[in-house]
Every structure is written in structure tokens, then in C-alpha cells.
């Protein structure tokens, strides 16, 4: 088989993963349902006073989106590992880097992107002031992409283990913290009427660094997991 062009390779993997995920249904809908349900727990837990909810909304929306993205991450390589697709990916003479990049992007398109699109509706439920809606979506679009790339490193490291779920959160959560800090501060600053572009630019920096470097770590981790 002749080596395919880089872009067509990325597109092929992207298309395959998105279609597979769409057909399985629960893979992309479960994180969304989780997001809605957990966000609904907060007004019940801390009381429904609108002012208090409005104050906490940026943090709640961001933390729950982070957890939903984390829970979805475990399945990123699991299916391909179990049925041997991952091994085939490593064996082909196509380089692994673009394939991993495409898989992670596909995963984000099925988890982080819907979460970001849905977030204004939950913002309304949690009394998030209107000024925070667009910054919330923008910060989540960039932020969940970074989360997907970081999470993919953890998923690749733990994919060969039988009980990966809880361990994955232990190793990935510390790395999520900076994203959470800048992400929720975008929304908070926007509500206070301040300039939120610097924090958004910081998230974009995180995204570009993660986009360039994390596939290297993911490839290394996948080789370790498949070899053992």
C-alpha cells in the first residue's frame, strides 16, 4: 500500500472515528447527559437563590465540563485496544503521530464540542449572566480541546490496565488544573466586565502547545501499553 498523504490520513482516521462514535450513540451522548445531570444537582445541593447560583455558575459549569470530559477520555483508545485496531495502527508504516492527532480531535468533536455547544443552556439554568455566555462557550471550545489532548496521554498510559478508570483521573487531574484556572477565569472576568482576551489567549497557547507536543507523549505511551 502506498503511503497516503498526511492530510488524507488525518481525515480518514477522523472520519472513521466520528462515524464509529455516532453509530455507537452512547459514547457521545453519555458525557452530555452526565453534564446536564450534575449541573442540575448544584441548585438542589446549594439552594436555588439566583444571586448565589450566578456567582458560582462559572466555576460549576467549568468543573462539571472537566469531569464529563475526563469520564469520556477513558474510552478514547479502549475499543481500539480491545479489538486489536491499535496494534494494527502501530504496525502500519504510516506514522503514528497524525493518526493519534486525528483520533484525539475526533474524540473532542464527539465530547468537548457538544459540551461547549450545550453549555449556554446550562448557563441559563444556573443563572449565568448573559455577558458570560459567549466567553463560556469560547473558553470551553479551546479548553476542552486541551483537556482531550492531556486526557489522551493518560488514556494511552492506562489503556492496557484492567482497572484504568480511577487511576486515569488520578494521573490526569493534576495536569487539568491550569486549564481549569484560566478557563473559569475567562467567564468570571467577562461577567465582571473586564477584558477576558488575555486568559483566552493563554488557553489558546495551551492548546497550541498541547497540539504540537502531546501526540509525542501519546504515541510513546501507546507503544508502551501495546508492548507489555
Amino acid at each position: 500500500m502506498p503511503s497516503a498523504g498526511l492530510l488524507s490520513l488525518i481525515l480518514a482516521v477522523l472520519q472513521r472515528d466520528v462515524i464509529a462514535s455516532l453509530r455507537r450513540g452512547s459514547e457521545w451522548s453519555n458525557p452530555l447527559v452526565f453534564y446536564v445531570m450534575v449541573c442540575a444537582l448544584f441548585p438542589l445541593g446549594i439552594g436555588p437563590q439566583p444571586e448565589r447560583l450566578a456567582e458560582l455558575a462559572p466555576g460549576i459549569l467549568w468543573v462539571v465540563a472537566l469531569l464529563a470530559s475526563l469520564l469520556a477520555t477513558d474510552s478514547l483508545f479502549r475499543g481500539d485496544f480491545d479489538d486489536g485496531t491499535l496494534e494494527q495502527m502501530l504496525l502500519t508504516h504510516q506514522s503514528l503521530y497524525p493518526q493519534v492527532l486525528a483520533k484525539t480531535l475526533a474524540h473532542w468533536m464527539m465530547t468537548g464540542l457538544p459540551l461547549s455547544v450545550l453549555s449556554p443552556i446550562l448557563g441559563v439554568l444556573l443563572q449565568l449572566p448573559p455577558a458570560g455566555m459567549l466567553p463560556l462557550m469560547a473558553s470551553l471550545v479551546l479548553g476542552t480541546m486541551v483537556l482531550s489532548f492531556i486526557g489522551a496521554i493518560g488514556a494511552a498510559l492506562t489503556v492496557g490496565l484492567r482497572k484504568g478508570g480511577l487511576l486515569l483521573s488520578l494521573i490526569v487531574l493534576p495536569l487539568y488544573i491550569p486549564v481549569l484556572i484560566f478557563g473559569s477565569s475567562v467567564v468570571k472576568t467577562a461577567i465582571d466586565g473586564g477584558p477576558y482576551m488575555p486568559q483566552l489567549a493563554m488557553l489558546a497557547v495551551f492548546f497550541l502547545v498541547a497540539l504540537a507536543l502531546s501526540p509525542l507523549a501519546i504515541c510513546g505511551a501507546l507503544r508502551i501499553s501495546v508492548d507489555q
Binding site: G220, A221, Q228
Partner: protein, 249 residues
């Protein structure tokens, strides 16, 4: 001797075991001397701070523990990189040994920081940039310990932890410069090697003693842990069996 033969010598667990055995008493003696001496000096003979009174004296544990906790992480990440690149077995053992030591030192740094924060800032804990990033460092250590325990295959565990340690190393420059980037409750570094230190020499000298003592203590404990790991991994080799039988006799 060429570079590659030095490298091979250092990569040999047996040579390292014998070499480190000769180093151990020196490290133990010097580190205890400096740590205990520095503490007694700092607690009993240094004058009290004009603002903080006696509470500042915890600096003689807090600063060394924090500095070595960070240094330990860098050492672990470098050992991980060496293991991944050159497949040096010894580096994997060093890496595994560092994680629990580093976690303990980080915990000590957080604990002494809280104890120091109560009288000076009036609170045990603030979500300040440096404290938060040291807390992340603590979580990273715990994550590496958990990841190592999850693997049954030792080689895979070492390689996976090496990848995680290298990825987590992004946190180190953030901790180091956090007090300058986000000026907050935690003061910036008082000790400077290039400019003038902002700490009085009478307070600085015992701090230097405990700081170097803590580095030596780390080296000592690291050697002990690594030696135990070497014996465990090489237990099927002749030279380990000779040592164990010799001690049993």
C-alpha cells in the same frame, strides 16, 4: 576512559550497588550533621525576626524541603528521560525510588508552610499561586506512585511513569516563577546567587547548612531506596545471592 564505557559502568546495577555502599556512611554523617547542626543553630542562636518573632524559624525546614521536593521531581523526570532514551535500567530504579521521597518532602513543605502561615498570614491555607502549584506537584507524585503500582509488568510500569514524569515536568517552571508572575501572599525568593540576598547573613548561614543538609539527606535516602530496588530486581543474579547469603551466614 571513553564516555561510553563510563556510561556502561554507571548503568550496571552491580557496580552502582558497590559504589553507593562506599558513599552511604559519608552522606549519612554529613547530612545529619548539617541538618541537626543547622536546626540547632537556627533555633537557638539566631536572633528573632523583628516582625515575625520566633515563628520565622520554621524556614530552616520549610525552604530546604520545598527546594529539594522540586529538585527531586526534576531528577525523576531526567531519570525517566534517560530510561526512555537509552534504556538504562538503573535510571528506572532511581525514578521509582524518588517518587515516595519526593511526595514526602512535598507534603513536609506544605505542612510547614501551613504552620508558618497561621501566625504570619493568619490562615493555615490560601489558594495562592505557589501553594497551589506545590499542591499540584504533590498530586503529580501521588499519580506517579499510583500508576507504578497499577502495572504488573515492571518494565512497562517504569516506561509509563517516565512518560508521565516528563509530561508533569511542565509544572516545575510554573512553581519556580509563580511568586514572581503572580505577586501574592507568598514572598518571592530571598536567596539569590547572582544578586544580593534579601535575608540577613546571620539568618542565611544556618539556612544554607540545612539546605545543603537536606540535599545530602535526599541523596542518602535515594541511594538506600535504589539499593533496595536493585536487590529486589536482581535477586536472581549470582552477586545478589552472594551478598544475601554472606549476610545471612
Amino acid at each position: 576512559m571513553s564516555i561510553s564505557s563510563t556510561f556502561h559502568k554507571w548503568g550496571s546495577p552491580r557496580w552502582f550497588y558497590q559504589f553507593s555502599g562506599r558513599l552511604l556512611p559519608w552522606l549519612a554523617g554529613l547530612s545529619l550533621l548539617l541538618l541537626l547542626g543547622g536546626c540547632i543553630w537556627g533555633l537557638a542562636f539566631v536572633p528573632a525576626d523583628y516582625k515575625q518573632g520566633n515563628s520565622f524559624r520554621i524556614i530552616y525546614i520549610h525552604v530546604p524541603a520545598s527546594a529539594v521536593a522540586m529538585g527531586a521531581y526534576v531528577t525523576m523526570a531526567v531519570a525517566g528521560a534517560i530510561h526512555l532514551i537509552w534504556r538504562m535500567k538503573l535510571a528506572a530504579m532511581v525514578m521509582k525510588a524518588i517518587a515516595p521521597i519526593g511526595a514526602s518532602l512535598t507534603f513536609l513543605a506544605l505542612l510547614t508552610g501551613a504552620v508558618w502561615g497561621k501566625p504570619t498570614w493568619g490562615t493555615w491555607w490560601v489558594w495562592d499561586a505557589r501553594i497551589t502549584s506545590v499542591l499540584i506537584l504533590f498530586f503529580l507524585y501521588l499519580g506517579i506512585i499510583a500508576l507504578h503500582q497499577a502495572f504488573e509488568n515492571r518494565d512497562a510500569a517504569a516506561k509509563a511513569c517516565a512518560v508521565l514524569a516528563i509530561v508533569g515536568a511542565v509544572n516545575i517552571p510554573i512553581i519556580y516563577w509563580s511568586v514572581e508572575w503572580w505577586y501574592s501572599l507568598h514572598q518571592p525568593a530571598s536567596i539569590s546567587f547572582t544578586g544580593e540576598s534579601t535575608i540577613h547573613p546571620t539568618m542565611l548561614r544556618p539556612l544554607m547548612a540545612t539546605l545543603s543538609g537536606m540535599y545530602l539527606f535526599f541523596a542518602w535516602v535515594l541511594l538506600l531506596f535504589t539499593r533496595a530496588e536493585i536487590l529486589d530486581r536482581e535477586r536472581n543474579t549470582r552477586w545478589v545471592q552472594d551478598i544475601v547469603c554472606g549476610e545471612a551466614r
